[in-house]
Symmetry: C2
Subunit: 215 residues, 2 copies
């Protein structure tokens, strides 16, 4: 534990944090592919949990596919208002995109109750009707991933990109594996861990990398 005060200017705190993360990964002997480091580092920065260096999984060319979608104006749909709150909407807007979360909509709740499904399931069906390309940033509900996979299996909707990082204990691991078994481009955190904060961190990592001209 570091109990002494480190004098770092506000503007340098994030930079210093990433240095520490890089250093510790090296000390722990964890090798990360150079082209994914910016994203894995940001997930660790958000959680202080080095497990993400081992559990984040990427489909082929996932990052460049996601970046291209953003640059062509894709929208982001998330399954929590915390996720919506955490994603940098101003950066996304520069490319024409918007962030949506339908979870708190009254008619989503009503439809879910009547059908005995989760609000996440209904939210995903609604998201499938957005005319623009959509990146799904799922940090909470495994049923959101299951719903996307079911639409994909039935051929009614092919998600362009899924960030599958729900957290939890019931069907979370199952739902993540479902996405990874499909041909949908993904970034998934294998296992139980994840969260709205991680979903937002992944979106922001790519947005900032685009801003900095590296994607």
């Amino acid at each position: 534990m570091n109990r002494t005060l480190e004098h770092v200017l506000p503007k340098d705190i994030e930079k210093r944090s990433f240095e520490i993360i890089t250093e510790e990964l090296k000390n722990q002997g964890i090798a990360i592919r150079e082209d994914k480091a910016f994203l894995i580092h940001r997930a660790i920065h958000t959680t202080a949990d080095f497990d993400y260096a081992r559990t984040l999984c990427f489909s082929e060319n996932a990052i460049s596919i996601m970046a291209d979608l953003i640059k062509s104006g894709a929208h982001i749909v998330t399954d929590t208002n915390m996720g919506l709150s955490g994603i940098n909407k101003a950066e996304l807007k520069k490319h024409g995109g918007e962030v949506h979360c339908f979870m708190a909509d009254e008619d989503v709740a009503k439809d879910a109750r009547e059908r005995g499904v989760t609000r996440a399931t209904v939210s995903m069906e609604r998201a499938a009707k957005i005319p623009e390309n959509v990146i799904f940033a799922i940090g909470n509900a495994p049923t959101a991933l299951i719903s996307l996979k079911q639409m994909y299996d039935r051929g009614v909707f092919i998600p362009k990109f899924v960030i599958g990082v729900p957290v939890g204990f019931v069907n979370v691991e199952y739902a993540k594996e479902l996405i990874m078994e499909s041909t949908i481009p993904y970034i998934v955190n294998r296992g139980r861990k994840g969260g709205s904060n991680v979903a937002a961190a992944i979106c922001n990592a790519v947005l900032y990398e685009i801003r900095n001209g590296r994607l």
Copy 2:
């Protein structure tokens, strides 16, 4: 890893999750004090990280002090809009309280820039002027905790309650220890881990326990 689908009704997912958490803590031989279990379980539920069973620290009677504050209409000030988004505002409102986050206010940013301090520092000074009792729910900025401790040391403001769960690598552990060395009632997650999601989970755990008549 559990890769098979468990058939659980939407309304029972949370209950089943808490059963799994209780069971695993038992299997791992981690004993938790009965009166704190509801809160520690919710932190684990939010993160899937069992570390919280070992690192969450409570000042004497912390939970009942926090519950009494809520029941008497205390407000909550958080240091991120994600935290604000995650705290159950409808439950807090039943007792007369509101949730605030000043981080994105234009004049907070301006003041911080001019003084070379973080926006969190300025936000805490602003929160100290709220006439109602305030519970601080800090999930991101160690400088928020340092600012609160400095006001406390100068005798200009005595925080009624601090949830100190910032996440990170620079001065996070230092700031948490500062709070724990004071006489301020607290719930602190020792170490680097925490987050806005954890801060919100702690607030909601106490709100729901009050709603269920157990506090």
